[in-house]
Amino acid sequence: MATVQRPGGAYVQRSSGGGLYEIIDVILDKGLVVDVFLRVSLVGIELLTVDARIVIASVDTYLRFAEAVNRLEITSNESEGIPQLMEDITENGASSKTRGVLEGAKESLFGSGDDDEDEEDSGSKRSSRSSSRSGSR
């Protein structure tokens, strides 16, 4: 997908436009739309939004933050040995959990190849979508 690729500093990661990952929420949520003609089977897309929103301000978030802070204290105050080793392990575990939420959502969108299941899902979502749209004009 060719567009302008501009040079970037060390802390600015640039990529050319149109990368699906960057644009995915945008094309589902923004852009011109004539409501009555929006006809799309939403394969796991509601999940993408819902999962991402749940992350914000829930008890889980608080516990995760607490964990992150505690981890930080130990890492900076203790030197090495088994506690440090244990810490490394939890750290890896925790960070993969943290990232897991968003990645999980993306996986549910792009699927794992089982298209048949997706099609069924989309059927029910499509009908609920179109019924909620029908009165909107």
């Binding site: 802390y11 436009g17 011109l32 992150a68 802070v69």
Partner: protein, 247 residues
């Protein structure tokens, strides 16, 4: 039994747009449907349109290529009209004035996306150092079993969450203060995740692109690894087009 073909709409442009050399969704050929000085980029489709990876990528790619040739108002993914006549009668004709006006505004302008994300460790360190109560609570909880201190953990986490909110509000304001004066318009989204300080789209005059690039670089330097920026574009102006709810 074959389902009837309908018209999938990618965007609205001018009749002299050269169509991108790309296939539309499902491998269908792109074409222009024009009416009185406006033209819609469409391809045949057999609905429903599945929002799968290929379909989404194709929609994005067609528009991405199209904006290289001229101003294009991008449609949201999934707009399907019964036929080309409907494209004229339900989209181009009734919204003619507002479409033409927005095409005029987009001439020589580009949309850029910027997302600022915290380095979690740096942010947590800053939060602990910046709040004595958080530091004290965290010291108290250290070494205790997390079952025994469940509610204290939640209290600590809630305070951290508040501190993170405050930090991201500050950082978001600083980012927008630096960039907004350079742009025609900005559209700021609710962050999708608490580690995201700012998620925004900017509409910039092409001529100011380098200036904007430099400003983003400068933000990156000031962020010093504490905040990392993902900076992409030019994109079709998804964030800066709109149709009125009713004609």
């Amino acid at each position: 039994m074959t389902a009837a073909k309908e018209s999938y709409v990618y965007g609205v442009s001018l009749p002299d747009l050269s169509l991108p050399k790309a296939k539309g969704i499902g491998g269908h050929k792109l074409r222009l449907v024009d009416a009185d000085g406006l033209a819609a980029i469409v391809s045949d489709t057999t609905p429903p349109v599945r929002a799968g990876k290929d379909e989404l990528t194709t929609h994005a790619r067609v528009l991405q290529r199209a904006i290289e040739d001229g101003p294009v108002l991008p449609m949201r993914f999934g707009v399907v009209m019964p036929d080309d006549e409907a494209v004229r009668e339900e989209l181009l004709d009734p919204y003619r004035e507002v479409l033409a006006e927005q095409l005029g505004e987009l001439r020589g302008a580009v949309e850029l996306h910027l997302r600022a994300t915290y380095d979690e460790q740096a942010l947590m360190r800053e939060v602990v150092e910046g709040d004595r109560r958080i530091a004290a609570l965290s010291r108290e909880l250290r070494g205790q079993s997390s079952d025994a201190t469940y509610y204290a953990q939640i209290e600590l986490g809630e305070r951290v969450a508040q501190a993170v909110d405050a930090a991201s509000a500050r950082d978001r304001a600083a980012i927008l203060d630096a960039l907004e004066p350079m742009c025609i318009a900005a559209s700021v989204s609710e962050p999708e995740h608490e580690q995201v300080a700012c998620d925004a789209a900017f509409l910039i005059e092409q001529a100011r692109l380098e200036e904007f690039d430099r400003a983003v670089d400068e933000l990156g330097r000031r962020g010093d690894g504490r905040i990392r920026f993902t900076y992409t574009g030019p994109h079709p102006a998804y964030n800066f087009v709109e149709l009125p709810a009713q004609v």
